[in-house]
Every structure is written in structure tokens, then in C-alpha cells.
Amino acid sequence: MSRGESATPLAKVRGLGSAHHGGHHWLEERFTSISLILLSLWLLFSLIMLPALDRGTVSEWLGSAWGAVPMALFIIAAFKHGLDGLKVVVDDYVHEDGTRIGIHFILSMAAIAGGAISLFALAKIAFGAN
């Protein structure tokens, strides 16, 4: 890991951290966190402002662009941020590389599956399949 005195600051941090991926993962987690401040508050306030939470009212809201587009962004950001966060927790407490990478794989598959299910359901609501 030692690169000597001539290494650039970037080269010195590449591959560091318990995940050995340097600062990229950390920065992405911050980007999604800032997006989620806006998107999660939007979701909460939208739910509070809806006149009712029955299927018809909620579907009509999610059928409009003002409901569907931020909800799609929320789904993507939330699953990405949740996956990034869980990976950090695993990195800190699971030290054996094979197990660690195996858990990362399972978590990634679960997050992608959950995100895909949510986005498909949203598309079905928005484009009025029934």
C-alpha cells in the first residue's frame, strides 16, 4: 500500500478505508443523503397534504407527473443510499473478505430487486394499467 513521498494526495487515499474503495463510496453516500433530505420531506409532506390515503386518491396523485417523477427519484435515491449505508455497517463489523463480499452481493441484489419492484409498481400506477 505504501506509495512513497511522491504520491499525489489522491493516490494516497485510493483503496483506503475498510471497504478498500477510498473516498468514492463515502462521497456518493453524501450526494444521495442531500437528495434524500429534499425527496423524503417532499414525500412526507405530500402524504400529510393528501385529502385521504385511499387507493383512488393516492393513485391519482402518483399518476400525475408531480407525484410520479419525485417518487421515482425518491425510490432510486433511497435504495442507493440504504444499500451504501448497509455496506458501510457490514464493512465495519465483518472482517473476513469472502464473507464481507458475499454479504455485499446479497445486499446489492436485494436493493436492486426492491428498487425494481417499487419502480415497476410506480410505473403501473402512473400509466394506469387498471
Partner: protein, 131 residues
């Protein structure tokens, strides 16, 4: 990342007192994990039920309005606010600010106060005050 062999270890590592910053730090992980595992599962179920039809949505609504479902939803609401306020604190700490002992302690306690207040306020509105 070269390590010096036989380097003396600081004796203070075992001398410490539990503080609010430690509580908030571990709560950030617990609430984040809870929001991801439970919260995103509820989100996916809610959207899938909306898409699937009246019967599926009626089942979701029944579970959500059951006392056990309510406990989970109130817990998720608190986890959301705690993670949000704690996350905002972390974004400030990431800039290198707020590490002075008293400032750090103050904002740690404030995340706990704000999240409890915000959770109570959210459900006060949701329980029909605004409806």
C-alpha cells in the same frame, strides 16, 4: 499506511465515559438500518399494493391501521426524523466544524429532542387534526 511495530498504545483508550454523541452515533446506524430494511420493505409493499388492486391495498391498509402496524409506522417515523437530524449533524461534522466538546454535546442532544418532537408533531397531524 506503514505501521510501526511495537508502538506504545495510548492508555486512555480504555478510559472513557458514555456520552450523548455515542448514543446518537449508534442510533444513526440503527435507524439507518431500520429505515432500509423495514422502511423500504414497507415502501415497496405499499407501491405494489397500490398497483395490484383494491384487495391488495385493503390488506395493506388493514395491517397499517392495526396496532402492531401502527407501532412499526410510528417507529419508522421516529427513525426517519432521528436519521435526518443526525444526518444533518454529520454533514456539518464532515466539513470539520462542530467538534468542540460543548457544541458536539449540544447538537447530539438536540437531534434526540428534535426527532421526538417531530415524530409527535407528524402523528398529531396524521391522526386527524388536519383532516
Amino acid at each position: 499506511m506503514s505501521t510501526i511495530p511495537n508502538r506504545p498504545l495510548s492508555p486512555h483508550l480504555t478510559i472513557w465515559k458514555w456520552g450523548p454523541h455515542m448514543t446518537v452515533s449508534i442510533l444513526h446506524r440503527i435507524t439507518g438500518t431500520g429505515l432500509t430494511v423495514v422502511g423500504l420493505a414497507v415502501l415497496a409493499w405499499w407501491l405494489a399494493a397500490l398497483a395490484a388492486g383494491d384487495e391488495a391495498y385493503a390488506l395493506f391498509s388493514a395491517v397499517a391501521q392495526h396496532w402492531a402496524g401502527m407501532i412499526i409506522l410510528v417507529g419508522l417515523t421516529w427513525a426517519f426524523w432521528q436519521h435526518l437530524f443526525s444526518g444533518l449533524r454529520h454533514l456539518v461534522l464532515d466539513t470539520g466544524a462542530g467538534y468542540e466538546l460543548r457544541v458536539n454535546r449540544f447538537w447530539s442532544v438536540m437531534t434526540l429532542v428534535f426527532s421526538l418532537f417531530a415524530t409527535a408533531f407528524t402523528w398529531w397531524i396524521l391522526m386527524g387534526v388536519g383532516r
